[in-house]
């Protein structure tokens, strides 16, 4: 039996964001990025390229990093999403964020939310990553300011401090 659940009408789509259950009214092909930013006010995820190349819109969806500019919001139905806004603990920076601050890992800030989410995933899988592992873990995130060295240093520092529970 065919039971299409949505069409080009707006429909209610529910998912968990940063621990809270949210329901939005959206067209199914709206990008998750736009829904997060415009409907939910979560402007941490940025639009850089809009085609999955730069990683500035990265969020964690069901525990996996994903570029939210490439996700039709219908595919987020029932998902558990973590954005940069949900990564701090009790509104305090976590050690990874602190390391970015200390190492000057952020300049203009556009890539930073994506960098931190990607780094957080990396540290969860590899608590003390090598340089090559950091480079690979962040290879989907482009930065046009820092030249990457400070970012890599920040991730290495957080790793050395044993920061694996960053959310």
């Amino acid at each position: 039996m065919i039971s299409p659940t949505h069409s080009s009408c707006q429909s209610e789509i529910s998912f968990r964001v940063n621990g809270e259950q949210r329901t939005v009214l959206a067209f199914p092909m709206e990008r998750l990025l736009d829904v997060l930013r415009h409907q939910l006010g979560l402007t941490g995820a940025k639009e850089g390229c809009g085609e999955g190349e730069c990683g500035s819109c990265v969020v964690s969806m069901n525990g996996a990093l994903a570029n939210s500019c490439l996700i039709p919001v219908l595919q987020a139905q029932g998902a558990t999403i973590l954005t940069i806004e949900g990564i701090s603990v009790n509104k305090q920076w976590n050690a990874l964020q602190q390391a970015f601050l200390e190492c000057n890992g952020a300049q203009c800030g556009i890539c930073t939310p994506g960098m931190i989410l990607a780094a957080s995933h990396l540290l969860r899988e590899k608590p003390n990553p090598t340089l090559a592992e950091i480079q690979e873990g962040l290879s989907g995130n482009l930065c046009r300011c820092t030249g990457y060295l400070q970012i890599v240093e920040a991730v290495a520092k957080a790793g050395a401090q044993g920061e694996t529970k960053s959310s």
């Binding site: 092909m29 990008r31 290879s139």
Partner: protein, 292 residues
């Protein structure tokens, strides 16, 4: 110009039967979308001609890897990350795992699927030379039933394939008979992550005592479709690998590829790189190592 989401329908039947029934109800009208790493890029650019989409993302029927005695069946909905993380698949088919590792970055590897890479049919796709070299077979499914066909020949021309409008790729079958082979995969591009290859190769073979027993060489980005170098293979099979043979293999490879000039590279450079990659593979074959 960016697309307007109000102009597009997207439905999610939630299971394979539902998707197949929808495709059968009006063949050609519904475009399947999995992780969106190609479709959403076209959509963002205002270049997506389909107006009706059906989500096949994360369908359990398409997202499993079955290890059978004679073959491994990789569900078409498996992501590059699923492939990278699968131990047996990575061990027996290292060129595929390698291609999965250098496709996009982690975020795209978590969403891009093997089936999507096949039907998107880019001649530059990194995973496709590996499928060609491993003699992969495809299981296609529709409301009319299943059919199994060789992956070689699936791409009939640039971005054209043998899939019918009501069909989906269900799985990619990899015969488990290459454990004694030397596997060689390499991507030549601006960088591995997030960059499309200028040329990529997947080649495997056996050459006990330097004599070629069997070779399979496939290249990406050198023709309108992923290309198996059948002439070069024919030249090599049964021969003793020495410098003159490597020289002839390079010449044959250059004659066999049909590269173009585009924003990423030139036809001349691609031809030269293709020949050098074939030579590097043959040197590896006589050295008895594995690169990938």
């Amino acid at each position: 110009m960016r697309s307007d989401p109000r102009d597009y329908e997207l439905v999610a039947p939630g299971n394979l039967q539902g998707v197949i029934a929808l495709l059968a109800s009006s063949p050609g009208e519904w475009l399947p979308i999995a992780g969106g790493t190609d479709v959403m890029v076209q959509y963002a650019a205002g270049k997506l001609s389909a107006r009706k989409l059906v989500s096949i993302w994360n369908l359990s029927e398409l997202r499993r890897i079955e290890v059978l005695p004679g073959e491994i069946r990789v569900g078409a909905g498996c992501t590059y990350s699923d492939i990278r993380k699968h131990e047996i698949l990575s061990r027996e088919f290292p060129m595929l795992a390698c291609a999965a590792r250098w496709t996009g970055g982690i975020a795209n590897q978590n969403r891009g699927t093997l089936g999507g890479n096949i039907v998107n049919a880019s001649p530059a796709a990194d995973s496709l030379p590996a499928l060609l070299a491993y003699d992969a077979e495809l299981i296609l499914v529709s409301a009319r039933g299943e059919r199994r066909l060789s992956y070689e020949g699936f791409h009939t021309n640039y971005k054209k394939t043998r899939i019918a409008p009501d069909e989906l790729i269900q799985s990619v079958c990899l015969l488990r008979r290459f454990s004694e082979y030397i596997h060689y995969a390499r991507k030549v591009g601006a960088r591995n992550a997030q960059a499309i290859s200028k040329v990529c190769i997947a080649a495997l073979g056996r050459a006990p005592g330097r004599t070629v027993d069997d070779v399979r060489i496939a290249l990406g980005s050198v023709a309108p479709v992923p290309l198996r170098l059948t002439e070069t293979e024919r030249l090599l099979n049964g021969k003793l690998i020495d410098e003159p043979l490597i020289g002839m293999a390079k010449k044959t490879a250059v004659a066999e590829v049909r590269p173009i000039d585009d924003i990423r590279s030139t036809a001349k450079y691609r031809g030269a790189v293709a020949a050098n990659l074939v030579a590097e593979f043959l040197n590896l074959l006589i050295a008895g190592g594995t690169r990938g």
